[in-house]
């Protein structure tokens, strides 16, 4: 089944490069993606934290919104402040539904002449349909299927990219700009999904392999697969759509209140505003928390969370081994009364209850570039 899924999967512009680098390819959200290279997930994770890692994230959806008032229109679908987003600035938000659940999470950048959205691979078809139904014809919705997306992440990312484009090291966190890299017109943002400093680079698919090879020729840079991308984002306490957030979780429950600005809270006007507004004002009934299992045994998605009396109170939404934390780490939803860091809980694994405690997120401190 896996082989069929892989054979039928879409290929990113870097597919041949992944094979050349010896990647183990897996089907992920309909795309053939590298889960790891011969170096392995532990090495790739640590290399990204220590130096710089190059990720192919071309499976993600890149969508342009064109037309006057696109920002006002988009605010009908997301709780983030898009109207207040300055030019060449990027912001994190979510598509919400009427009940307050999350349809997808996304990045929005205001550029001259359009808004650029980056959405999850598994949601991009539904997101585009959702956008078209709600915004057209006043706003044009364009899926940029011919563009690749690379992420260069880690403490050496700025020095590496500045070698190709002097000045790019001065780009602020969550800022973006048009940058020429190795002769290729790219759109570069200072952002990522690892908790480290780094960049995401949107560029024409036909040039992606050239730029990736150029970046990999730099001494600090190694290719990094989806396996390490997952352990890096988990340590950074970042949500993975379909796991930590979905239609059954609201932004307030998920701890994403920081992404909803004051004006939007006051004015509402986005799907689920009634529920989300009430949760922001009075606190949600349950919350996403960090979980530290005692001992060395990883606790994975789906494990039942127990309170001190042994009652099932929630489930682990993401979990595994944190290579930099050097221990098992997890996230999950618990009743608000059990969300305080230090609260003792149990986690059910293969019929046994492992002691655990609620932990502050992130597990590994963010090292974004802030001036």
């Amino acid at each position: 089944m896996t082989e069929d899924a892989l054979a039928n999967a879409l290929r990113t512009p870097l597919y041949n490069l992944h094979l050349e680098l010896g990647a183990r390819m897996v089907p992920f959200a309909g795309h053939a993606m590298p889960v790891q290279y011969p170096t392995g997930i532990l090495f790739e994770h640590r290399h990204t934290r220590d130096r710089a890692g190059l990720f192919d994230v071309s499976h993600m959806g890149q969508v342009r919104l064109l037309g006057a008032g696109a920002d006002i229109a988009l605010e009908r679908l997301v709780p983030g402040d898009i109207v207040g987003l300055a030019g060449n600035r990027q912001r994190y938000t979510q598509f919400t539904e009427a009940g307050g659940g999350i349809l997808d999470d996304l990045m929005v950048t205001r550029r001259e002449g359009d808004l650029l959205l980056v959405v999850n691979a598994g949601c991009k078809a539904a997101d585009v349909a959702h956008l078209k139904a709600a915004l057209e014809p006043a706003v044009r919705v364009e899926l940029l299927s011919d563009r690749a997306l690379l992420a260069l992440q880690g403490p050496a990312a700025a020095a590496v990219l500045a070698r190709l484009a002097p000045g790019v090291e001065r780009l602020a966190f969550m800022a973006a700009d048009a940058v020429k890299l190795a002769g290729i017109e790219c759109w570069v943002s200072r952002s990522g999904y690892t908790g480290e400093d780094g960049y995401e680079i949107s560029l024409p698919g036909e040039s992606a392999s050239d730029l990736a090879r150029r970046l990999l020729s730099q001494a600090e840079v190694k290719p990094i697969g989806l396996g390490a991308r997952d352990t890096l984002r988990l340590e950074a306490g970042l949500c993975l759509y379909g796991h930590d957030i979905d239609r059954t979780t609201s932004p307030a429950e998920a701890g994403l209140a920081w992404s909803i600005g004051k004006r939007r809270r006051q004015q509402g006007g986005f799907p689920g505003a009634a529920r989300i507004g009430a949760e922001l004002a009075h606190g949600p009934a349950r919350r996403r928390v960090g979980l530290l299992p005692q001992g060395r045994q990883p606790v994975r998605e789906g494990a039942v969370i127990l309170d001190a009396e042994g009652n099932a109170v929630g489930r682990v939404s993401s979990g595994g081994f944190g290579p930099s934390a050097d221990r098992p780490i997890a996230m999950g939803y618990v009743p608000a009364g059990l969300a305080m860091p230090g609260t003792p809980l149990g986690l059910e694994v293969r019929g046994k209850t492992l002691p655990a405690a609620v932990a502050r997120l992130p597990f590994v401190a963010h090292r974004y570039h802030r001036d």
């Binding site: 889960v35 392995g40 396996g227 990883p298 994975r300 595994g320």
Partner: protein
Amino acid sequence: MSETRFTKDHEWIRLDGTVGTCGITDYAQQQLGDVVFVELPEIGRKVAKGEQTAVVESVKAAAEIYAPVGGEVVATNAAIVDEPAKVNAAAMGDAWFFRLRLADPREFAALMSDAEYQRFVEGLQ
């Protein structure tokens, strides 16, 4: 001289007299990737052929290890609990999981030979 045989679940067992040393194959450790956790059985536990006897977890996945044959657990390898990465480095050697005193030697004879297992793995790729 000892002989090693294999299961379709990618365990190996090396028989010395009536005691078999069991581990996972090199193919299995490659498929799992970086091993970060191992759980071993209690010494003295009696297991049937095919019974879940140990657990191995990599960064990415958890896998159950089944007894290649029935018998009694007479030894376990604490070194791989302290240093799970040994399973990646020496799956067919020092990183054995447990030793079983065989209940029925015919179960061992029914397992795949080295050549049969190699053909089996080639068929998976």
